[in-house]
């Protein structure tokens, strides 16, 4: 029986097989791994070091230069807080601050329990509803700081975000 680790490693081998074996492939390889696994895990990067001969520290350095890569598993739900012009004018910043405080994370991070990703975005494209917060693609319109707890608890299950 193959362990999940072995399966992961063979998926990485498959990805590498699709790219030319040189340094130039690093970014496309990282993109594929993130696509497949959802993020770049320490194990995946260590495997890349082994197979590509580039130090894990260097790979990590390169990857952190690009905002597209993440290094922890994505949360169960993704909360986008819009900071576009319309949302900004209507208090988008306070909404984000409230979210950060309630969730205990800064934008761009995942809550400790793995439930939520909090991201700031430039514009969701529904400025008329500003300020908006989108959770897993569902847009919540004209959000106020007061509404934040109820939005969160809807997704948190039994979590106690009061």
């Amino acid at each position: 029986m193959t362990s999940s680790r072995d399966k992961g490693l063979s998926r990485i081998a498959d990805i590498l097989a699709k790219h030319p074996a040189n340094r130039g492939s690093l970014i496309p390889v990282l993109q594929d791994i993130q696509q497949d696994f959802g993020y770049l895990s320490e194990e995946a990067v260590a495997e890349l070091e082994r197979r590509m001969g580039i130090s894990a520290n260097e790979i990590y350095g390169v990857a952190t230069f690009y905002t597209q890569f993440r290094f922890s598993p994505p949360g169960e739900h993704t909360i986008l807080s819009c900071q576009g012009t319309a949302c900004h004018v209507r208090g988008g910043r306070q909404i984000l601050t409230e979210l950060e405080q309630r969730l205990g994370v800064t934008a761009g991070r995942t809550t400790a329990d793995g439930k939520f990703d909090l991201e700031r975005v430039a514009c969701i494209g529904c400025c008329a509803l500003a300020p908006v917060v989108a959770v897993d693609g569902k847009v919540h319109a004209q959000v106020t700081a007061k509404k934040i707890p109820s939005i969160i608890s809807r997704y948190a299950g039994e979590g106690n975000f009061s």
Binding site: E42, A56, N57
Partner: protein
């Protein structure tokens, strides 16, 4: 190739860059990211030049020299550009000292950098004496920051062995990243993140150890700033001299360049710096040599105890006793880490003087372990290291140990003679392939310790033997016709332990190296009985309730001390001891609550004792808090009272402001700090006083300059002041005193940064005030600042600082008691 640089016609070699060519011809072009050991990188942009026919300002470090090129390196435009580039860099660097208008006076008053936990300016930076950024800033006449600087508040990384990393000083020149890759063939560190978040780091925030660091120290050696530092060497400053010798921790015998100061080795590096040495060569030598428990005087057993005796007497006595053991009943045991010269003398002494065949020479094993046993029937033994079991001693009528460190065996011996080792001696050794390598004396041995040949020669003479009249190791090597010993400076490959520190030797002459060199305990080792990393735990009655780093390196600590809180008065201080062994350090009382039974201290991490204190966290306890001490300040109605405060003094003046205000005075508070992010307690003080003025050395907020600059401005404008009270570092108080004097304003200074015991016994705090000797701890802390002999005060402080450096000289990771954000908000 021929080119013209600054009007001078110069020759360039094929493949040289414009920068290399200029430097070769003594034409200096500022450069920070370029380093002689590294290829060009083009990151700092300071090496800009003008070249005819090339548009703009190319970087000379990346531009290949070409025939007939005409280069200008020093035009006004270039100078301005460089100054602006440096200024931009300095916006994310603790740069205030660079733009301070009292730079020269500061330098005179305190040439050595102060030892702090967190560097907030050159004056508290271990890199000060050798800083390339500072030198460049002088050269470019850099004197102003365009906008207020930023401080990233990155934690100071001190949890790795041997190296400290404070990335708040990093200018992202990338030298460390490149040299690491070059030395290790694999990056251990790299640029992580992007934009303003970019920093030097390891994958997934792993420790250096987990990222595969070999502690070769190369990154430390090339860093142009104080960002990376050798924890042991950092506070010794620039070495006075560098001597080259051979490392004898193992038989690869790498050549080491040993930096020395005041007769001590303070740092070690590979001579051929392109190939790393192992962690022992790079980091273990100074701490091993400078260990406080080194054997330093001859000792002789008298009954149960070993008593110190002078060399002459020791030699006489040993000679007398040894005579009775001539023949095979005598044995001498050494190992091959002793020099050829020493071993020749050992053997000659054994065979000729003692008439014994039992000269025993041990070859250390792969781990450096040298174990041997004494032949049956041995009655007297001379052991030049920790080689035999304790039990062997029982059979002996006479045991003599000649060694560098005490051991259970030396503690039971009849005579103990202190030996010089490693860089303390001259001589020759053989490396693993039989080549001769020289040892050169780089430093003084501790106390009265002597080279081994010297000890045995003098002993032989004391026994009346002839042929031991050598006065130097050289004389012996001449006789032995040892010639052509050469330092191993053309290494092609690094020793195996430099690529896998598990392969390092663990023992030297029977001593565990990691027992003396504490940083080694944190590295994995092929040795089942490795020592635990040292951790000191202490329990006391004075609990810490809260602790916050309220500004970089400034810690506010609230301590349970009801007896002190009950009696405290403005201007008084306490003496706090973290554990039984720690020094007694005075801290000004910055507040107290008699009802709650608490006191508030503002502590700057400076040196060993305050370090211990700030590494505690809420919930920990201090062993002792004594106080309140000192004469309280006279609180009277003066009229207008001006309080000038800097560093810890900003906290220290709080009770004084309150009391002066209550007494009906108009109270003006002037605080100073190097930069805006170093100010604290602003709201608190604003709420207490009538007028609040902030000053910064770099001008980033409030008045530019020291507190006295704001005060002098007011005095010149004719404002009336009845009393000025300065609380801060001696430099700040001295400057305040000097500049209020012409105005005839009564000025007081709080002299508590200089005490030791706080009861007038130690005399450390002796100051001369108006030709009278006073003790700051019992007569002070407040004195008439115009009468204080500031020069004497400076000298006295300097004398204590040498001691303080020695107590900081350890290589193990600094252990923090921090609970990861719960309670303590420290940046550590």
């Amino acid at each position: 190739m021929k080119l013209t640089i600054d009007g001078k016609s110069v020759i360039a070699k094929e493949g040289q860059t414009v920068l290399e060519c200029a430097l070769n011809n003594d034409i200096s072009i500022p450069h920070l990211c370029t380093h002689s050991q590294l290829s060009a990188f083009g990151a700092c942009r300071l090496c800009l030049v003008e070249i005819d026919g090339i548009r703009g300002y190319p970087t000379s470090c990346t531009t290949p020299a070409a025939d007939a090129m005409v280069v200008r390196t020093d035009t006004q435009a270039l100078q301005n550009l460089r100054r602006n580039i440096l200024a931009l860099m300095m916006l994310e660097h603790p740069s205030a000292c660079l733009v301070c208008s009292r730079r020269e006076l500061c330098e005179q008053f305190r040439p050595e950098a102060e030892r702090t936990g967190r560097t907030t300016g050159c004056h508290t930076c271990s890199n000060k004496e050798i800083c390339e950024v500072r030198a460049l800033s002088e050269e470019l006449g850099f004197a102003e920051l365009p906008v207020p600087p930023a401080y990233h508040e990155r934690p100071v990384e001190r949890s790795e062995p041997f190296m400290d990393r404070d990335l708040n000083l990093c200018i992202l020149c990338g030298r460390c990243v490149r040299i690491c890759k070059h030395h290790q063939g694999r990056a251990v560190i790299d640029f992580v993140g992007r934009g303003s978040q970019t920093h030097i780091g390891q994958a997934f925030g792993n420790s250096l150890l987990d990222a595969g660091c070999q502690f070769c120290g190369a990154c430390v050696d090339v860093c142009p700033t104080g960002s990376l530092a050798d924890r042991y060497a950092k506070w010794y400053g620039r070495p006075e001299a560098v001597a080259e010798s051979t490392c004898i921790f193992c038989d690869h015998a790498c050549a080491l360049a040993l930096g020395t100061k005041n007769g001590k080795v303070t740092a070690a590096q590979a001579v051929d710096e392109n190939v790393p040495v192992c962690v022992l060569g790079r980091f273990a030598v100074p701490e091993f040599l400078n260990g406080t428990d080194r054997l330093s005087t001859p000792h002789m057993r008298v009954g149960q105890r070993l008593r110190q005796i002078p060399w002459e007497q020791a030699l006489e006595m040993v000679a007398g006793k040894l005579r009775q053991f001539a023949g095979d009943g005598f044995a001498l045991v050494c190992d091959t880490t002793s020099t050829l010269e020493d071993r020749h003398i050992f053997k000659k002494f054994t065979n000729e003087v003692m008439k014994s065949t039992n000269y025993i020479e041990i070859e250390p094993d792969a781990h450096g372990v040298s174990r041997g046993s004494l032949p049956a029937g041995t009655k007297a033994a001379l052991l030049t290291g920790n080689f035999v079991d304790l039990a062997a001693l029982k059979e002996l009528g006479l045991s003599i140990v000649q060694d560098c460190y005490p051991t259970p065996v030396s503690q039971r011996a009849d005579v103990v003679l202190p030996a010089a080792v490693l860089a303390e001696v001259e001589g020759t050794i053989l490396d693993r392939s039989g080549r001769k390598r020289p040892l050169h004396k780089a430093c003084e041995p501790p106390g009265q310790a002597k080279p081994e040949w010297w000890i045995i020669c003098r002993l032989a003479e004391a026994m009346g033997a002839e042929g031991f009249e050598y006065e130097s190791a050289e004389a012996i090597s001449k006789e032995l016709r040892i010639s052509n010993a050469q330092l191993w400076v053309d290494r092609v490959e690094a020793p195996p332990a430099a690529t896998d520190f598990k392969l390092r030797r663990t023992h030297f002459r029977g001593h565990r190296i990691d027992e003396k060199v504490r940083g080694l305990r944190e590295l994995p080792v092929e040795d089942p009985c490795a020592l635990e990393p040292a951790q000191e735990k202490h329990e006391g009655a004075f609990g810490i309730l809260e602790k916050h780093e309220i500004a970089p390196n400034v810690h506010e600590i609230i301590i349970q001390a009801p007896e002190v809180a009950k009696k405290a008065l403005p201007g008084q201080f306490v003496i706090a001891m973290v554990d039984e062994k720690s020094e007694r350090v005075p801290y000004t009382l910055c507040g107290w609550d008699a009802q709650a039974g608490t006191i508030t201290l503002v502590v700057l991490e400076k040196g060993q004792s305050s370090r211990k204190l700030i590494l505690l966290s809420a919930g920990d306890k201090l062993v002792h808090v004594v106080g309140p001490l000192g004469v309280p300040l006279d609180i009277e109605l003066y009229g207008t009272v001006v309080l000038a405060a800097g560093c810890y003094g900003i906290g220290g003046i709080v009770p004084i402001v309150e009391a002066m205000k209550d007494a009906g005075n108009r109270v003006v508070v002037v605080t100073e700090a190097r930069s805006h992010y170093l100010h604290y307690y602003k709201k608190k003080l604003q709420g207490l006083c009538d007028e609040f003025v902030e000053t910064t050395i770099d001008g980033s907020v409030g008045v530019k300059g020291h507190a006295i600059d704001a005060i002098a401005e007011k005095l010149k404008a004719g404002e009336k002041m009845d009393c000025v009270i300065a609380v801060g570092c001696p430099f700040m108080m001295m400057v305040t005193a000097q500049e209020t004097k012409p105005f005839g304003v009564k000025t007081l200074a709080a002299l508590n940064p200089i005490m030791l015991d706080g009861t007038g016994m130690c005399g450390a705090c002796r100051v001369t005030v108006g030709n009278q000797t006073k003790f700051a701890c019992v007569d002070g802390p407040f004195f008439d600042a115009h009468l204080i002999d500031w020069d004497e005060l400076r000298d006295r402080r300097a004398a204590y600082s040498a001691q303080e450096i020695h107590s900081l000289g350890r290589t193990e990771a600094v252990v923090t008691g921090h609970s990861g954000g719960s309670g303590c908000k420290c940046l550590h």
